[in-house]
């Protein structure tokens, strides 16, 4: 029994999960239980917890892609802009502003938007793996240009759509649960199966740990990176669809604004090292839920959501420091010298 407990605490998602439960519990106590209340209306579940899951779905998708990018030792700060592009394309297609021959087909709109995300991701991957530009600069190009491209697609306007099928992406219910949860579940399961049932996960971790050794062992490091950035772009595109379906339109200025930091933070909270190596997608999902529940609670308290940015920035720095060898050494040196002083 004891050893099983030990094994459980060693699991990467254990501590993040405990933090999540603690946050929920505090919320529950503060709200006097209202936090946990769920209502069933028309066979659909409603409640704070459901809100967190639904609103957190975008972040969970982004965190899934970002986990793998960070695991290879890279970064992708263009995800917010890719969300904007995907939303802009999907809404414009549904609205018939572009590709009107498709007759506003929602399926076509979704497919084209995801394809655009794949292209964006592949572009990032190409710059990083083949041309060997620092990931931050490579993805920053798209971060800024991407929002511009989205603006050009919508001609600088906020495009609203009128399509129940499209709204379903965010607001729909299946079996009483919000539809975005099924999207997240589908992709997370898919990618976890892919990383576990093929050797892809091993190759990613190996690449992140030691790219040179990996190359000597026959791993095509460049291709691994290309695939991962592409995947991250696709996840961002789907998140963009959920977002735009939620606001029933495309707002290129604000879609996915500053969400890059949340995605990176979710991964960091999940315990995946920002320097690359071991990764755990479930842990990052939990990390994303932690962030979402903090955001939701802060919002419920009536504080501006931007304020949490400040806190999040501080947490990222703290986690980075905790992972820094030099910082650990400095702290250890400080502690021992203090001990020596007190002993003397």
């Amino acid at each position: 029994m004891n050893s099983r407990l030990k094994k459980l605490t060693k699991c990467q998602s254990f501590w993040p999960l405990m933090v999540l439960l603690a946050i929920l519990l505090v919320n529950g106590v503060v709200s006097g239980g209202a936090f946990f209340q769920m209502r069933i209306v028309d066979g659909h579940l409603y409640g704070r917890l459901i809100d967190i899951l639904r609103n957190g779905s975008k972040l969970m998708l982004l965190a899934t892609g970002m986990t793998m990018v960070l695991a290879t030792g890279g970064t992708d700060i263009s995800v917010g802009s890719v969300m904007a592009i995907s939303g802009a394309i999907a809404c414009s297609v549904v609205d018939g502003r572009i590709l009107s021959s498709l007759g506003g087909s929602v399926t076509a709109a979704v497919l084209i938007a995801v394809l655009a995300g794949v292209l964006c991701g592949a572009w990032n991957g190409l710059l990083v793996s083949k041309i060997k530009i620092q990931p931050i600069v490579a993805t920053m190009i798209l971060m800024v240009a991407g929002r511009g491209i989205a603006q050009l697609i919508t001609d600088g306007k906020i495009v609203t759509v009128n399509s129940d099928a499209y709204y379903f992406i965010n607001g729909g219910y299946i079996l009483g649960l919000p539809f975005p949860l099924f999207i997240v579940g589908f992709f997370v399961l898919l990618i976890m199966l892919f990383t576990k049932k093929t050797a892809f996960g091993l190759f990613v971790e190996s690449t992140g740990c030691n790219p040179v050794s990996s190359r000597f062992a026959g791993i095509n490091v460049d291709r691994v990176k290309l695939v991962i950035y592409t995947f991250c772009g696709a996840m961002a595109a789907i998140a963009g669809l959920i977002e735009s379906a939620g606001i029933k339109g495309a707002d290129c200025n604000n879609a996915g604004l500053m969400i890059e930091m949340d995605a990176i933070l979710a991964v960091a909270i999940g315990g995946t090292s920002l320097a690359g190596g071991r990764f755990s997608i479930p842990a990052s999902i939990v990390g994303a839920l932690i962030i979402q529940s903090i955001t939701t609670s802060v919002y419920a308290m009536g504080v501006a959501p931007e304020v949490t940015q400040v806190v999040k920035a501080l947490i990222v720095v703290a986690i980075c420091l905790a992972q820094s060898k030099k910082f650990k050494a400095a702290v250890a040196a400080r502690l021992t010298s203090r001990k020596a002083v007190s002993a003397a």
Binding site: A199, L202, E205, S206, S213, S214, G218
Partner: protein
Amino acid sequence: MDAEKLLLRMEHISKRFPAVVALDDVEFSLRAGEIHALLGENGAGKSTLIKVLTGVEQRDSGTVWLEGKEIFPRTPQEAQETGISTVYQEVNLCPNLSVAENIYIGREPRRAGRIDWKTINRKAAELLGRFNLNIDVTQNLDAYSVAVQQMVAIARAVDISARVLILDEPTSSLTAVEVQKLFEIMRMLKSQGMGIIFVTHFLDQVYEVTDTITVLRNGEYVGTYATAELPRVQLVGKMIGKEYAELEGSAAAKGGEERMGEVLVELRGAGSASIPDVNLEIRRGEVLGLSGLLGSGRSETARLIFGVDRMERGEVDVRGRKTEVRGTLAAIRSGFAFCPENRKTEGIVGDLTIRENIVLALQTKRGMLRAISRAEAEKIADEYIEKLAIKTPSQDQLIRNLSGGNQQKVILARWLATNPDLLMLDEPTRGIDIGTKAEIQKIVIQLAEEGMALIFISSEIDEMLRCCNRMAVLRDKVKVAELSGEEISEAAIMNLIAGGAQNEQPA
């Protein structure tokens, strides 16, 4: 030696790193006006000794005197201030700055508070003029050849009043003409009473320019000799751990011709950016040794075959068919395997488990989509942990927690698991305890007996003799001879490596 004439004296220097003893009770003396070669193979301790002297590392014990005063440099700056300057093989200057600036940066002459570029350029040109180097000092450093960069580095070092000048493998990337120019400068500095420590692995150069030789081996002091009185073959013997007298009549390498099979790989004029031209045949069932000093082209040959360095010319036949090895994965799929020289940076993937490290190459060989199941991976890992006697509590251990010898065995297991036809081992036993060393050597011979082709690279001649039944000797990136059967002897190899006129090699 007259004690008061000594410029530098190091006694009982010891330095331990967590896993290894890098220097064990080493001594070293340098007189003013002397060029002193510091020699030794990989892991001999030369670079650690230099790091201790220049303050990059601190000695654990021992004493260093400079002109009779005890010194304890903690940083390269401190060493430089006391008069010890170093010029490295990789020029430690800034390629993006002008030649003149590289000489004066950090101590620029100023006028009215601002850097006085006119004076800098004038003084730099004057200084380099004294070295017979008349170049445009306002050009960026990287506009010039490595040789010029090296001389600029020396000029900077000398100008900061060096009493002791350390040249750490300065000639590795120079042409013959450039080397002569460097030697002129060394002789000039020597005549001015400076003491020069010269680290190199080119024996010709040692005999051409140095007065004295100190040899280190395995972190221990072997001895100091007058260059003129030490024959080349004896010097090589001291470097690789065999006295020449012992060699006379030493047993020839074992046979094994009977088990040699068909030609597996043949290189014809193959070359990469780092080695010009390789002609080599490798047969099934043989252990082919690549012999030569560090930098002679032995690792470069292996890297070329394994597709790590791109092949720029020549041809490769594998199993009689002309093949293009594009990258490491193609090499693995051709049945090649390669344990690289730098275990830490090129071999292990530190944060993965032993099991993952073992199956990694097999997995890439099979392809990403055909994953090795957990059960199969465990079986493979167990099999090799037992076969190679890898000491670990479990296969879930991270490989970085293992000792060097066990890490090496895991890498070996990684390659054996791919069931290769050709296994290349580059310094597989360096920094490994004696017991494991012997085990690895035994495995090598056994594999050849089972019909595998092996390429074995080592700085230790003993080990090479024990394992190899054919030997290619390399010098300065060129194969100078191939020996097999009775021809293989320490004396013959050492003669070839030394490349000297003395003790003509046997036919």
